[in-house]
Every structure is written in C-alpha cells, then in structure tokens.
Symmetry: C2
Subunit: 276 residues, 2 copies
C-alpha cells in the first residue's frame, strides 16, 4: 500500500492511499479520514460510497463530512466507484464502465475480469482497512450518494448484522425498474433478472429490510427523480414498517450542495447508532 497524500484536517488526518487489488486486478485508490481520537485506539467507521463519474475524491473534498466525523470521533472511508486504468474495460457513456461500477460483481464480458466492486467494498478493502488502520470492525455504518446510495442500501441489507445504520442521499432506489440499473445490470450481470434482485434496494426492502435505523434524504427538485424512483423505496419501507426516516427536501437538487447541506445530520445519525 502506498500513501498518496496525508493532510491534517479538523485535528485528524485525511489520507489517500493506493494498493494493488487482487480482486479488481488493478491499482485501487481510497480516501480515509481518521479523527484525532484514532491516535489512542480504534474508532468507529462510516463507509461513504460515491455516485456515477466520481472517484474516491469527490465526497472527500466536497461533502464537508470531516468536520462532523472529527467531532463525533468517527473514521470515514471513501472508496473509488470502479476499477480504473488503461487495461480496464470502459465505455464512452458516463454511466457504464469506469466511474460506474454500480457495486456489483460483473459476470459478463468485457467487464468480468476487473469489475468486482461488491466484493471489493465488502471484502478486500475491509481487510486492508481493519489490518492497517485503527478502525473498529465491530462498529461500522454505511452511507452513499446516488449510485453510492444504491450501493450503501444493498450492501447494508446484503450483510445483515455488519452495519449499525445506513443512510443515503438521493439513492438509485429501484434500479431494476430504471434506466440507471437495467442498462448496467444487463451489461455487468447479463439478461437474467433474477441475478439483479440482490442489487435493488426496493426489492431487498420488500424481502428482508434492514435491522437498524435508515435515513434517506431526497431533493424534491432533483433533476434525476425519474431515474432514482424514491417512491418505490418509500412504499416498500412503509409496507415493511421499516424503522427509518425518509426526508423529501424542498428545493434541493442532486448536487453536492444538497449533500453538504445535510451531511451533519447523517453523521450525527450514524454516530448515535455507532455509540449506542
């Protein structure tokens, strides 16, 4: 593992690290914020999964999360959204290939050799994180924005007991019924829709739900509402009597101005669960 940069921030350290990924068969980069409290022992951690076109960097520099993570004594990890590099398959569209891993393990050509983001985020990167940094494996929460909100919700429900809480900003909530989902699942997973079901937050909510609190913020002026389909997840959450909060925020759109406005609430929400 190689240290790309380490910057003092809010009394802690915002680091960026690169490592050779066996799963993705390429170098992978991630950001990690460690609060000052990590100097005296392992701290709880919040995973932040980013959206389409993002790298590890977007949320790290634009979401404004470190202030609140520092106050709460939480680490935050910012994985990349896909494998990358000249030897990695790609597509001209912004929503397929590099920058658009959709947090699944691809089984189809040309994606299968590198696009293993489900296992990368839930297996390989956790192994690195918990062995190399003072982060407490038994205290994890997860969140994300847009495609990363999809990832956070599906991973949280896919690994019962692992995460204390899950939150999302404008998640792709029902990808099997959206052009943000059907296109990518067809490419990565093939046409058999039964393979898509474990990667749809609405379907997972109907089937099993999440054993912990959920917080979802959605901008009412989001330019992608038709693709995100929050109404499907809202219905499923209510039908299941899932414990959680879904907030429709008037006037807000899909941008990081929306995320940064409400990130304080999300970090406080996770802190409450992680220190419970």
């Amino acid at each position: 593992m190689k240290t790309i940069s380490e910057n003092r921030a809010f009394g802690g350290v915002q680091g960026v690290y690169t490592h050779s990924s066996a799963l993705c068969d390429c170098d992978m980069t991630f950001g990690l914020f460690l609060p000052e409290q990590a100097e005296s022992g392992p701290v709880p951690v919040v995973w932040y999964l980013s959206g389409l076109t993002c790298t590890h960097e977007n949320a790290m520099v634009k979401a404004g999360a470190q202030k609140w993570a520092a106050e709460a004594g939480l680490a935050m990890v910012f994985p990349d959204t896909s494998p990358r590099g000249p030897g990695v398959a790609n597509d001209e569209a912004y929503d397929l290939g590099q920058g658009a891993g959709f947090y699944v393990n691809a089984t189809e050509a040309p994606w299968a050799p590198h696009f293993r983001m489900w296992d990368y985020v839930t297996e390989e990167l956790p192994n690195i994180l918990f062995s190399a940094f003072p982060v407490a494996e038994e205290r994890q929460s997860i969140m994300g924005h847009s495609m990363g909100g999809h990832g956070a919700l599906t991973i949280a429900m896919g690994f019962p007991g692992r995460f204390r809480s899950v939150s999302a900003f404008a998640p792709i909530a029902n990808p099997t019924a959206s052009d943000w989902g059907r296109k990518q699942f067809t490419a990565y997973l093939g046409p058999d829709e039964s393979k898509w079901a474990p990667h749809d937050a609405t379907l997972l909510m109907r089937k099993r739900g999440f054993d912990g609190p959920i917080l979802i913020d959605q901008g009412a002026s989001d330019q992608f509402l038709d693709l995100l389909k929050p109404e499907a997840l809202a219905e499923a959450m209510a039908a299941r009597r899932q414990g959680g909060i879904l907030r429709m925020q008037k006037g807000y759109d899909h941008s990081y101005f929306f995320v940064s406005t409400f990130i304080e609430d999300h970090i406080a929400f996770h802190a409450a669960a992680l220190y419970d």
Copy 2:
C-alpha cells in the same frame, strides 16, 4: 449577466453567474451564495478571493463556508482569479497569466489589455453585485487563501473604511521579497519596484495598517512557507500594534483541508464585525 447554475444549499442559493467584463475585456464568472435571509432584504457580504490556479469554483465547493454563512445570514462572493479565454494572454507556468492574476492592474505587455483584477474586484464586480443582488454595500468584509489572502489584505488596506474586517489563510504576505511576487510584479507592473509597494501586505501594514480586526491562519507544515513569509507580516503587525490575531496551526498544510478546518472561525469572525 447570465445564470450558469443555481443550487439550493443550506436553505439559501449557491449561484454561478457570467457577465461580460468591460475592464477585463472578456467574460468573467463568479459564484455568489445568498442565505435564506436575503429573501427579506439585503444581507452583509464576505468576499472570498482564491489562490493560484483556482477559479471561482474551488472555494465554493471545497471550503465549506456556506454552512456558516447561512447560519450567520451572510452572502459570500467568489470571484475568479484572472481573466480567461482564448484571446487572453497566458503563460505555461502555473503562477503567471490565467489563474494567477495576483489582484493587480497590469500595465505591461502582453498582460495590460485584460489583467485588471484590482479594479475588477474592487469596482466592476461590486457594481454588479450591489445592483443585481440583495447585498448590503455598507456591510462588507473580505478574506482569501494564499494569493487570495494577499489580495484580501492589500485590498482591505487599499480601501480604508470599505471593509469591516479582513482575514486570510496562508496569505502571500510579502510578495516583493518572494518568488511568489517578484516574478509576477515584474511581468504585470514592470521593473519599477515603487509600483509594487501598494500590493505587498507587509509594506502596507508598516505604512498604514487596517482600521478593523484582522485574522490570519497559517499552517505550520505549509509546503510553501518560504514563499509566503508570514514572519514578515507578523513582525509588521506587531510593530504597528495592529489589532488582530495570527494563528500558527501545528500540522496543517496549504490545502483546502486546512481552509475547511478553520473556515467556521473566519466566518464567525467576520459575522461579529459585520453585525457590530
């Protein structure tokens, strides 16, 4: 004037606008955050001047200022750092030409026709701002980072009575004695060093000081300390008995992680002066 974007943020609006600049003879872009309070009348304003290589956008998306501006009911304006465009002179170096206006009016070729950032920031852009937006001309403060800290300090001292308070992150504090200054002043203003003096915060501090509070934060691990020369300004401030605070922040570098860590203090500092 053309609206490039408007995003809801912290109850207010983060806008980006472009206008044709008569002074710079090109289109100029700026960011403006208006808090919710601006809906019911003019609000005080803080100018944020950015550093080398930056556009209007860097601080707007990375400094995390809007949260605190919203709470305090302050507008924030984020000008660009130079004229831009295919017809505008440039240099291959990152620290000369586009992205490196240094907040002076160039008198030398090839810069003179467009590089009029001193007048742009103190005359043309204020005229637009105070005529088109609910911003209170009689309640202004100014701040900046690096080259923008140089701009904020020299403009604040250059226009006595206009600004209630001034603050800076890692300002270029003594450019007439630094390679961040001598090179650019020679190019923009010519070899006569008497023309440089009004653009050196340390020289201005020795000569006249600032009639209001000053706050300066400097990272003790800043990779550019030799170019910034905070010790020169510190000496001048103390020698003048200038009211103000200079904080040397252990472990912090020159990045926006440093700025975002302490921006809350800077906004609170300006709010106290603006609501005095």
